[in-house]
């Protein structure tokens, strides 16, 4: 019974934990501008994140080492520092979008300007990070975030022509008014929305926080192989809603309200409340994860004590970092447009993925870390193909960013 509960919780955590502001804005925007033409990227992104998280989780469970600890050990301090710098900068960018994003959700619920909410959100984040137990925190956000299943209900309620949707997914076309470079730019964004390094780094550190061992691998596998695909369905639902409701009307996503309107169109008031609660939980949870993830990475790189699994006085640098990060993020979040930042952050996520994917791939093959549970041949083949793809994406990102003037 306990095992079944553990499994269930794990799956639910994975589902609820996948969606963040990058998905809300980015997946919907892709639907609004290209219809179902970018659906295949969600599928590719799902394969990538499943592989990535599975490897990182396995390494953490068996070796009790979290990602950046291992990354520095294998790549050396200099290359790992470049890695860390890029990852940290990118995660902070994401965090800015998430914190401001929570403000946006609260604005939609109350009418009060999102900027007023930002400091409150930051304080609430701090309070929760400080007081609640790691597992409780993770589980609560994810479970509340399950209300995002309302997205699936909304799609169903709109009765879209599924044959047509499928056809458009399999035969992507560039609509009038868009061009190829914007298509690829948004494709990169979709990939980044699915494969966010901070989520994997968090997953890996979380495995150590919760004291996972090789015996927990079954739970880990179920989380990843069942939970993530369901989470990906939510991302797909966002794209469908954008394609079915926003695209015909020529609406593109520049505000969170435009993400909510398709749901309210389908389901009315109850849909509105469910989607607001779901968005709140998903984005707030993502903010907590991103904050922790940055602090974890920095501490793991330097070898400093980190984590909520030790008494607070034993990890002073970890806690100081958390405060410092929240402070910077709050300040920056007050300045920039959250939706724009969210869209940038997913593009850069995609670009930065190979930096952390590559060392984890090597280590997941290394018996010194994972004993007998090294990658199977299928995993390796897929992983290498994905790695090549990721490197191509990385190289294409800045040129495309410049070519589309950041507007995608």
């Amino acid at each position: 019974m306990k095992k079944a509960l553990q499994f269930t919780l794990g799956i639910l955590t994975a589902i609820g934990g996948m969606i963040d502001i990058g998905n809300l804005a980015g997946n919907t925007e892709a639907g609004a501008r290209f219809g179902m033409g970018l659906a295949w990227v969600i599928a590719v992104g799902l394969v990538a994140i499943v592989l990535y998280a599975n490897m990182a989780g396995r390494v953490a469970a068996i070796s009790h080492r979290a990602a950046f600890d291992v990354i520095r050990e294998r790549l050396g301090p200099r290359v790992a520092m470049v890695n860390l710098g890029a990852s940290a900068a990118l995660t902070l960018l994401t965090l800015v979008a998430e914190v401001a994003g929570v403000g946006l959700v609260l604005q939609l619920a109350t009418g009060l300007n999102y900027r007023l909410w930002i400091p409150i959100v930051a304080l609430a984040l701090w309070a929760i990070l400080w007081w609640s137990k790691f597992e409780t925190m993770e589980r609560s956000y994810a479970l509340v975030g399950l209300t995002l299943l309302v997205l699936l209900a909304a799609v169903w309620a709109l009765h879209p022509d599924s044959g047509d949707l499928l056809h458009r997914s399999v035969h992507p076309a560039i609509p009038h008014g868009e061009d190829l470079k914007s298509y690829f730019y948004l494709a990169i964004a979709q990939f980044g929305a699915m494969v966010t390094p901070y989520q994997v780094l968090f997953f890996s550190s979380g495995a150590v926080e919760e004291g996972w061992t090789a015996r927990d691998l079954a739970v880990e596998r179920v989380n990843v192989f069942i939970g993530f695909p369901v989470g990906a369905m939510l991302a797909m639902a966002l794209m469908v809603l954008g394609a079915v409701v926003l695209q015909p009307r020529g609406i593109t996503v520049s505000h969170l309200s435009q993400v909510g309107l398709p749901v309210t169109l389908a389901l009315g008031r109850s849909g509105l409340w469910l989607v607001l609660v779901g968005m709140f939980a998903a984005v707030f949870g993502a903010a907590a994860e991103a904050t922790l993830s940055t602090a974890y990475s920095i501490c793991q790189y330097f070898g400093w004590q980190w984590g909520k699994f030790v008494r607070r006085p034993e990890a002073p640098r970890f806690w100081s970092l958390l405060v410092f990060l929240l402070f910077i993020v709050t300040t920056v979040a007050l300045i920039f447009d959250p939706i724009k930042v969210a869209l940038f952050s997913i593009v850069f996520s995609a670009a930065a993925v190979p930096l952390t994917f590559f060392p984890i791939l090597v280590v997941a093959n290394d018996p010194a870390y994972v004993g007998e549970k090294t990658n199977g041949p299928v995993t390796n083949v897929l992983a290498v193909i994905l790695l090549v793809l990721m490197v191509i994406v990385s190289l294409a990102t800045v040129p495309l960013l410049v070519a589309t003037r950041g507007n995608g």
Binding site: V82, G111, I251, S254, H255, S257, Q258, L265, V398
Partner: protein, 160 residues
């Protein structure tokens, strides 16, 4: 002390730095507008502004209909309307700040500007009503947006 050939390390660092610099610049400059050097370029920017405004108008219409049928809270509707108004307003001010390169562009500018002004004031009207909680009449008020939407559509088609 080179663990990797310098060019590898250099490229990564360069990519990381370039990326960060570009992000900051683009974020900061997303409001900045470059001058249009030819009338074709100006026309292109006009179409872009029309497109943005059309999206804002469509959002407002979608919102108005739902608000009138009770699907939205007053808070949600007023935020949506305010956002739409802001988008249209921003589109107009950034378009207005572009220096038209020739007389043909002057006429183009006047034509689009009048449509945009109507859009902005209609959206402002809706925003005010929504803030006051007068949701039931939003759909009626939004009828004015129908003509504006059509004119924006025609403008885009004529100049693409």
């Amino acid at each position: 002390m080179e663990l990797l050939p310098t060019r590898w390390l250099g490229r990564r660092r360069f990519a990381a730095r370039a990326g960060l610099v570009t992000v900051s610049l683009v974020l900061l400059c997303s409001g900045c507008v470059l001058p249009a050097r030819s009338s074709a370029a100006f026309e292109g920017k006009a179409v872009e502004s029309a497109k943005t405004a059309a999206g804002a108008v469509a959002t407002a219409r979608l919102c108005a209909r739902q608000a009138s049928s009770g699907k939205l809270t007053a808070a949600f509707a007023s935020v949506t309307m305010a956002d739409a108004e802001k988008d249209a307003n921003d589109a107009q001010s950034s378009f207005d700040s572009i220096q038209p390169p020739d007389h043909r562009s002057d006429r183009l500018r006047d034509r689009l500007d009048s449509i945009l002004s109507k859009a902005v004031s209609a959206l402002a009207r809706l925003r005010i009503d929504a803030r006051r909680g007068h949701l039931a009449q939003l759909e009626h008020r939004a009828r004015a947006l129908q003509t504006i939407a059509k004119r924006l559509e025609q403008f885009q088609q004529a100049h693409s």
